[in-house]
């Protein structure tokens, strides 16, 4: 591959990376009218999606190809796409939809676009910081009939593609090949930061907005509330009280 990203040879791979806008993980969650109120929180790219973007870019740099960042949402979700563009993705696509979708409806929409537009490898975060469910990667893969690997902490692109995932008692190193969905954990890679040129390019970049028509959802949200407060615990002064606490863990809590 030459420095402009053009490929020598015929291994061009069409890569998609799924990104989602979520409240900054340092922000407090407020509720109004039984729904989470996000009007005053800072929205950022979901933390694990940053690793998905980085891995997608590393993949492109290793074998050549293009990276397209895809998100779902209204106009306000363009910001997360611009953030991805500033880091170095080639294209940015928003699936225009602000209504609630359950996992089945959501994955059907995503997998539809992935298959229609001919992507071969999809990267996403292992879970998003809002729902924490981690369903999108494996769900989209199943709908496409593709392989999926989740909680990936390391990827090697030499000699095919191998990924490292946690396995019982350690890690498994797995040989994978496209078509494939990779859900990324943090691992040891550092994510690149946008430079001035990237930020300027992102400002000018056009978001490719696609309309979608999701299926009806069979799972619907009833309410969002704050968790019940925990009753006040017992607090002791001084290191010697650790002995008392050990007694309580046995006699009161019954857990050791």
């Amino acid at each position: 591959m030459n420095p402009t990203g053009e490929v020598i040879g015929d291994t061009m791979v069409k890569i998609a990376v799924l990104v989602k806008q979520v409240p900054d993980t340092n922000s407090k969650i407020q509720i109004s009218n039984d729904r989470v109120d996000l009007s005053s929180v800072k929205m950022v790219m979901s933390p694990f999606d940053e690793f998905a973007v980085e891995n997608a870019l590393l993949h492109k740099e290793a074998v050549g190809g293009t990276v397209t960042a895809i998100t779902v949402g209204g106009n306000s979700a363009d910001k997360v796409l611009k953030d991805a563009k500033a880091i170095g993705v080639d294209e940015i696509v928003r699936l225009d939809c602000t209504e609630y979708m359950d996992s089945n409806a959501f994955q059907t929409v995503i997998s539809g676009v992935i298959s229609q537009d001919g992507y071969e490898v999809v990267y996403c975060g292992k879970s998003s910081a809002d729902t924490g469910s981690g369903s999108t990667g494996p769900g989209v893969a199943e709908k496409l009939g593709w392989a999926s690997v989740s909680n990936v902490t390391d990827i090697q692109f030499t000699d095919g593609m191998t990924v490292t995932v946690p396995a019982e008692g350690g890690n498994a190193i797995i040989n994978v090949s496209a078509p494939l969905v990779v859900s990324c954990d943090k691992g040891s890679i550092k994510v690149r930061k946008p430079n001035v040129k990237g930020i300027m390019m992102a400002k000018r970049a056009q978001v490719d907005v696609k309309s979608v028509s999701p299926n009806p959802s069979n799972v619907t949200v009833v309410s969002q509330t704050m968790p019940a407060d925990k009753p006040a615990g017992k607090k002791f002064e001084g290191g010697q009280s650790a002995e008392t606490v050990v007694q309580l863990l046995r006699e009161e809590a019954n857990i050791i």
């Binding site: 993980t25 340092n26 969650i29 989470v36 996992s103 089945n104 409806a105 910081a129 809002d130 924490g132 469910s133 981690g134 369903s135 999108t136 990667g137 494996p138 769900g139 893969a141 199943e142 709908k143 593709w146 392989a147 999926s148 690997v149 989740s150 909680n151 946690p166 396995a167 019982e168 008692g169 350690g170 890690n171 498994a172 190193i173 797995i174 859900s183 954990d185 943090k186 069979n218 799972v219 949200v221 009833v222 309410s223 969002q224 509330t225 704050m226 968790p227 615990g233 017992k234 607090k235 002064e237 001084g238 290191g239 009280s241 650790a242 050990v246 309580l248 863990l249 809590a253 857990i255």
Partner: protein
């Protein structure tokens, strides 16, 4: 009532006691529970023959279950599991499997369920900073948080039907690398002792490791500790950008309780906090708080635990 199917949780080659909790949850969601046990050798299923609360046990036997492969496992389990609401554990691997099985059956998945009231399920969102209630309509796949439901007892008796399940592997394990340490990972442990930046240096985590070994616990860390010290790997990080855990006992040492750390551990059954700052936010979540430096408290904790457990 809807029929239910529980996919047994397997841990270290055994049917994990979490499975009993899944059956209990399934019986809240519907009736006529079928327990499906993925195995390479059907003798694994024998240990579950006295599990109560199930109408049928299927040992789904296949070589595909040797190593985890999401695609192959979903295919094999789908081929033997009856229709109905499917219940799995909310471990990292089983959540992945739950999502694949749901997509395969063209239904939705609800992950990390912590309570069930008819067809209304509660799950933590924003890593537990809020709770979402959802209503389900028709069949779904749900994953259940461990240590939340009281497990069914082991005084039943049920015949085990062995069915050959087939699935195609979509990935190939090249190598299994065992952890250098025999200590558990935070995602697997029932007891976790975590250190924060208050530990002063990564070398001081050895004090936490010693206590972890007495308790059979895992050692965790706050994001501040992971970000500050290269020797503390991200795999140890508990919190919204690390691992969400809910062990029986969580001991936080030198952790002030940043909002994103609290989000990852606040649902632990019991929380002990050791911190020299009496106003640290972690104390609001602690069942037992010790206002002290770790240097003073840990030797006392260590010897009290050793005396009790030896």
């Amino acid at each position: 009532m809807t029929d239910t199917v529980v996919i047994a949780e397997i841990n270290k080659g055994k049917v994990s006691p979490t499975t009993n909790e899944l059956i209990s949850a399934a019986n809240n969601l519907g009736s006529n529970c079928t327990l499906v046990i993925p195995c390479t050798d059907s003798s694994l299923a024998d240990q579950a023959s006295n599990i109560s609360g199930v109408g049928k046990i299927i040992a789904a036997k296949s070589s595909v279950f040797t190593n985890y492969d999401a695609s192959g496992w979903a295919q094999a389990l789908d081929s033997v599991a009856p229709q109905g609401i499917i219940v799995t554990a909310a471990s990292a691997q089983s959540k992945d499997l739950a999502a694949r099985i749901a997509a395969r059956r063209n239904v939705s998945v609800v992950q990390d369920v912590i309570s069930i009231d008819g067809t209304t399920l509660s799950t933590p969102i924003y890593s537990g900073k809020a709770i979402e209630k959802v209503a389900i309509n028709g069949n779904v796949v749900v994953s259940i948080r461990p240590n939340v439901f009281t497990g069914v007892s082991n005084d039943g008796s049920c015949d085990i039907q062995v069915i050959d399940a087939s699935g195609d592997l979509a990935t190939a394990v090249k190598e299994l690398v065992e952890r250098a340490s025999t200590r558990l990972d935070v995602s697997e442990a029932n007891i976790i002792i975590s250190g924060g930046r208050g530990m002063g240096s990564p070398d001081n985590f050895s004090h936490l490791e010693a206590i972890a070994d007495t308790l059979g616990a895992a050692v965790g860390a706050s994001r501040a500790a992971v970000d500050t010290w290269d020797d503390i790997p991200h795999s140890m990080q508990v919190g919204q950008t690390g691992k969400t855990v809910n062990p029986n006992l969580y001991i936080a040492v030198g952790i002030s309780g940043a909002i994103q750390h609290l989000a990852g551990m606040r649902s632990s059954k019991y929380i002990v906090a050791i911190n020299k700052d009496a106003d640290a936010p972690i104390f609001q979540y602690a069942d037992y708080g010790i206002v002290s430096t770790w240097e003073e408290a840990l030797p006392v904790l260590s010897s009290a635990l050793s005396n009790m457990l030896s």
